[in-house]
Symmetry: C2
Subunit: 346 residues, 2 copies
């Protein structure tokens, strides 16, 4: 069943744009691609074991058009998928793209979205091999990504050992704060409007710096190759939820709140705007796409070397414990009660 | 950026349902699947060359909820993807599923959708290895399918030879007529409402019979294995558009209107409802998902054997000609002008 409507976008032209991206990005994985866009299916081969994951970003669920530019939407749609491959220590290779396009999206909007995608594809050397467009009532970019790995260099979830240290990459909470600040601005909160222009600019910089995640591909590859993680994931739904994913059943974990790597500017801004209890949001909001893993304490030295070499902060934030079957967040040796604000997909 | 809302569906339960399907269907492709749903990515391996395609069906674009049941929506979402693998002569193997769920969809609706998917997955022995759910303002099921093929048994588009015969499987136009009849019923068209109950029942049967496509997997596999097609596709966007996809540039084709395989009941119903010029719609509506291919005339005998063996109608409907670069539809030796009603994706 098909509902026909007056054409708004030039379909042939749009498919041409997608084919162009495919052509540009094919070279990154030449040996894998037999035939790219332009047939009923793309054809590829891979001697290694492969990873596959599908993720989408959808208007009013994962972004709103007053906060994200189309370029950023395109970028983010691929970045979150790359992070899924990183979350297993794989090398991202190929992806297919489905665009759901509402009537109010014009050719320029789509082009900018595609620029965002192609720039990230170039940076991480992944190849677009399949495309699909559809009308819809809201804008959505859906990507299926394929990665691979050699020599059993893959790190699954749910493989923690009792006594493992819990590590995290980068910082946690920046994505939440970026989102929160943007909302505050819109609300004309007095704490915000009373700030000097200099301080507003400072906040603006923070918002922009953390709008898009950085998939930790290289770090994850090294964790896998050097066997520096027993269990690994990326923080997409929040530390509160994602920590439980990497624990073997029925392991528990202690997370040390004071050890969490929190951006200094985040703390300063929280002071400026008199935001009191931000720890719960930092722990449960998610969208940071940092790596979270468990490993034996003896690997700490090598992890610090890796941290220095890659220029990525790595921090020990807790420990896997026996038979708790849940995570305790500890502050000064006392359990800290978290108000769960975990993102629900439904 | 995340918009939180009151939970309507139980997310954990829904993921559990999807995991169940994964578990049930894994056995069909055990040797390929290393790890299915439950981690950041699924893991698989395949020594053969692989095919990949992504397709979605979306409410108000590909279906409306007053015409399709949720079970049928689930079935159709996988069937159209299977047809993409058939369109290259491959064997369908694995798929990932993304559900876009609006607020008015309840748990029962999703369960029925999943029943539709799992029944088709069992029938065609494909395995669900990845899932993803997201809120949305309209219902959409998006699938990425992976197939494979051995020994170069793949048939691409755009590989026609001058003088090739054009063949089609099954019948053409049934999907259009099913859609048209449903619309007529809703419109309370006099030609319809004046019919006897017996005739209305007859129409109802036609509608139901052709709501869902049949992917021609087996036929396509044999075409590929026996080298019985130079160029192949499935008719998703309509014969008018899809014929041009299988022609080598700058080949043209003649299609003989009187040879098109049209269902006898379709003709009878067109008579009952006084539908005059239905040929244009039959040729350009699409959604029949029949195979369309070109091959040397010498293969006609073997194709007829295949047709008998599989119980699938196969019909010669035209010829690839030199340097026309477009398709002529011919009736009694004269060009028949087609009013293009090809589906636009945008």
């Amino acid at each position: 069943m098909r509902v026909k409507k007056k054409e708004k976008l030039n379909e042939t032209k749009l498919i041409g744009e997608i084919e162009k991206i495919s052509l540009i990005t094919q070279k990154f994985n030449k040996s894998l691609i037999i035939k790219s866009i332009g047939d009923d299916c793309a054809i590829f081969r891979d001697k290694n074991s492969m990873l596959i994951s599908a993720d989408n970003i959808t208007e009013n669920v994962h972004f709103t058009l007053d906060f994200y530019s189309f370029y950023e939407i395109g970028s983010k749609s691929l970045l979150v998928n790359l992070s899924d491959i990183a979350a297993m220590g794989g090398v991202p290779r190929l992806f297919t793209l489905s665009l759901f396009i509402p009537e109010y999206i014009n050719e320029e909007n789509i082009k900018e979205t595609l620029y965002g995608i192609v720039d990230i594809a170039k940076k991480y050397r992944v190849s677009l091999i399949g495309g699909n467009i559809s009308r819809a009532s809201e804008f959505s970019v859906s990507i299926t990504i394929i990665g691979d790995y050699k020599d059993n260099n893959v790190i699954k979830r749910g493989n923690s050992k009792i006594g493992d240290a819990v590590f995290i990459s980068g910082e946690i909470g920046n994505s939440w704060m970026s989102y929160y600040l943007q909302k505050q601005k819109k609300r004309n909160d007095k704490n915000y409007t009373n700030l000097t222009n200099f301080k507003k600019k400072y906040i603006e910089n923070f918002i922009n710096k953390f709008k898009l995640p950085i998939p930790r591909i290289k770090l994850a590859e090294e964790l896998a190759a050097k066997k520096l993680a027993n269990s690994l994931t990326d923080i997409s739904d929040g530390l509160y939820k994602d920590i439980s994913n990497i624990l073997s059943f029925p392991h528990g974990a202690e997370i040390w709140i004071d050890e969490l790597p929190i951006n200094e500017n985040l703390k300063r801004i929280a002071g400026l705007l008199k935001i009191k209890k931000y720890m719960d949001n930092i722990i449960s909001f998610g969208e940071d796409y940092e790596l979270l893993w468990t490993t034996d304490d003896k690997n700490e030295g090598e992890l610090l070397n890796l941290s220095n070499r890659l220029g990525i902060r790595i921090k020990k934030i807790g420990r896997v414990v026996k038979e708790i079957n849940w995570t305790k967040f500890m502050k000064n040796g006392i359990e800290y009660p978290i108000k769960d604000a975990t993102f629900r997909h439904l």
